[in-house]
């Protein structure tokens, strides 16, 4: 951290200009996170701030400063943003201009992308059991909740879909791994139907484990090795 060296400035001959004091760096991070239309990565913060600044440390100071406040500094994927404290969401009610309810097809498609990313259109159709309309994909792309991933290295080189940081942002997730697995869904009573007693296949269980292995690498190294 930069401010550790404040009582021995002579020792720090590496940089021509003194980095601003940490309190000042914190102010800078505060202003940038506030004004940015999207979450900002530490790398981006460092690029914007004067030479010698330590954005990661400044963010951490700021995050602590906002603990328990009406807004918090939260991590969104690899980036940082200022967000309303979850318990105060009720105050935002009137702000809503329009609440758009996603169609069932869109929600299911989105869920499949989130749980199985990177995933091709054919795979989505296979999982849903019905064809996916162009409009559904377009809507999700337009919402910037999904985006194109790498092409699959299989015949036809189909495009894959992955979820975006906006998606994580919207659903308050740090990563797609935070999505609960099937077992948890069942435990939470989200699966209304009980599986038939004869269905003791391991399918569900193994399915689930591979589910999250797949999801793990999905964000940054999508799908180049998945047939």
């Amino acid at each position: 951290m930069q401010d550790d060296a404040h009582d021995a400035p002579e020792a720090d001959t590496g940089s021509l200009f003194e980095a601003p004091p940490m309190a000042e760096q914190e102010r800078m991070v505060e202003a940038v996170l506030f004004a940015s239309p999207a979450p900002v990565t530490v790398a981006d913060l460092n690029a914007r701030m004067p030479h010698g600044c330590d954005a990661a440390a400044a963010v951490e100071h700021l995050r602590r400063r906002y603990e328990g406040r009406g807004v918090n500094v939260v991590r969104v994927g690899e980036a940082w943003a200022i967000r309303t404290a979850p318990d105060l969401g009720f105050l935002m009610q009137k702000e809503t201009v329009e609440l758009r309810k996603l169609s069932r097809a869109a929600i299911e498609t989105l869920a499949i992308v989130a749980y199985h990313q990177p995933v091709t259109r054919a795979e989505i159709e296979e999982i849903r059991g019905v064809s996916v309309s162009r409009g559904t994909i377009d809507q999700l792309l337009e919402l910037e909740w999904i985006r194109l991933g790498r092409r699959r290295m299989t015949p036809g080189r189909p495009v894959t879909f992955v979820v975006t940081q906006e998606f994580l942002d919207h659903f308050g997730l740090e990563s797609a791994r935070d999505l609960p697995g099937l077992k948890e869904l069942r435990a939470a009573g989200l699966l209304e139907n009980r599986p038939p007693p004869d269905d003791l296949s391991e399918e569900g269980a193994e399915d689930q484990s591979s589910l999250f292995d797949e999801a793990d690498g999905a964000e940054d190294s999508a799908g180049e090795d998945t047939p």
Binding site: T96, E108, R128, L190, P196
Partner: protein, 264 residues
């Protein structure tokens, strides 16, 4: 007027300056603006300005414009006429019979107007030089932040997502749509059945006899199967595979395969 003895305007430099102004006449926002610019040559506080000298400068400007055959807008000429009138008022002793305002009053008002315009111009510059929103200071960047947060919390969309996923993942276990459709026979199913059976029906046969086993008794199933078989028989008739007839309203519908003997 050009023969006025005018010490402030005798120098060549001043005449050149006036001509430079003429060239820029389109750059002025009207006669008052021009007067304000001319007044700067007096290098005094606007409160101490010599309106008489200013009137002379303005009139000389108009004269130069005429000499250079430059068309001046009408309001410049109106101002010139008014300033000529003002100049005569200021130079001549006041006429006691005149009811109108004195030359000094008129001059004071012109000075006031110039000072006020200069002040407004100054204010405008100060205003534009202020820290400005979107340039020096900034509003919240995420305009939709509120909406997003609310959507998460109040439409329980993450829940929707999880439920949606749960629905898909458990669909295969239960095959719910197969269960739902257990009492429904589709047109395709009926058509498929009848295509296979029709070859055996050489004579008129009641359509209802084609209903599959297990579909004749239960009213729901019977209704569905009858409807789909009827629709299928129409399809087959249209395709020229069968004949179809009914002797009267509510009488049984009979069908018969169409064979070579029907050719005529």
């Amino acid at each position: 007027m050009s023969d006025d003895p005018d010490p402030e305007f005798e120098s060549v430099a001043d005449r050149l300056a006036a001509e430079a102004l003429i060239v820029d006449v389109d750059g002025f926002e009207g006669p008052l603006d021009l007067l304000l610019t001319l007044s700067r040559t007096q290098k005094v506080d606007l409160r101490q300005i010599s309106v008489l000298a200013l009137a002379r400068q303005y009139l000389a400007f108009v004269e130069t414009a005429k000499a250079l055959r430059i068309e001046l807008a009408a309001d410049y000429l109106v101002m010139a006429a008014w300033l000529a009138f003002l100049k005569s008022r200021l130079l001549l002793p006041p006429d006691p019979a005149d009811e109108g305002p004195s030359g000094e009053d008129l001059a004071a008002h012109l000075a006031f107007q110039l000072e006020r315009l200069a002040a407004m111009r100054d204010c405008a510059a100060k205003l534009m030089a202020r820290d400005r929103l979107g340039r020096d200071f900034f509003a919240r960047g995420e305009g939709e932040g509120i909406q997003r947060i609310r959507t998460v919390r109040y439409t329980a969309t993450l829940l929707d997502l999880m439920q949606g996923y749960a629905r898909i993942r458990t669909r295969d276990d239960f095959r719910p749509f197969v269960m739902d459709r257990v009492d429904v026979m589709t047109l395709e199913e009926a058509l498929e059945r009848m295509r296979g059976l029709i070859g055996f029906a050489g004579d008129w046969t009641d359509l209802l006899s084609y209903l599959p086993d297990g579909w004749e008794r239960d009213p729901v199933r019977r209704r569905s199967a009858t409807a789909s078989h009827f629709a299928a028989s129409l399809e087959l008739a249209k395709a020229g595979r069968i004949h179809i007839r009914q002797s009267g309203t509510f009488e049984p519908i009979q069908i018969r395969a169409r064979g070579p003997r029907d050719a005529g």
